[in-house]
Symmetry: C2
Subunit: 108 residues, 2 copies
DNA sequence: AGTATAGTTCCATAAAGTCGAACTATTAAA
DNA sequence: TTTAATAGTTCGACTTTATGGAACTATACT
């Protein structure tokens, strides 16, 4: 099995990060992880979304450098790369999360 | 001629704003307007981009509530809706602009 | 082994982006 | 007041990206 690849901090771009955050489903996922900590995929995104689509959303978040995915058993645990993002783009993620009031968190 | 329509503050969503900012060309445009003030369209975006595409990018920015477009003669002057965005999503635009170091500004 | 769970990959369809060409609107010049 | 020039939009074709169902892979449990 192919190991999960994540971009190096140097490869993370602002446009990619903002693009990844610019989707209601992904915003909800990110907010959920921020609030509830490391989070399994399935629980996020709501019921009315195909798991192949959800897989795609996590891929976008991963490749943008926003989440780190770790495989544990059958599940993938996702965590925010908060410190790295804060170092590279100070205040961006924090401001976005603070502004995400309307976005509901997954009930897990 | 149809007047240019802009979304009301209440209609602006975080996902739309982030999506609009999540493109290198649009990020460059926004940074340029932020630095140089009200700005005509043509000068932004570089030479290697079709004007129909540029028109599309400004439409995205306008519909997301990021820029206000005003027609003056043959040109369209664009300004950032800084105050409204700051009121609705405090710190977001400021953090993004501050983080946009790698993005070069249009030479006008 | 057999079954269940968690995700990914593949394929087909739907939605967005990109660009050239034609069109509209405004200004300036002849 | 036609004619030309400039600034942008709109249209149509093509390309790219998103979405979801079905089949597949990997791990765990019995």
């Amino acid at each position: 099995m192919r190991p999960i690849s994540h971009p190096d901090t140097a490869q993370i771009t602002l446009a990619d990060v903002l693009y990844a955050l610019g989707d209601p489903v992904r915003l909800k996922i990110v907010k959920t992880i921020a609030q509830k900590g490391e989070q399994a995929c399935r629980s996020c995104g709501g019921e009315d979304i195909a798991k192949s689509t959800l897989s795609h959303h996590f891929k976008i978040l991963r490749e943008a450098g926003i989440v780190h995915t770790e495989k544990v058993g059958t599940q993938h645990l996702n965590s925010l790369r908060t410190d790295e993002l804060e170092a590279k783009f100070p205040g961006v993620l924090a401001a976005v999360l603070a502004a995400a009031n309307d976005i509901e968190v997954c009930d897990s």
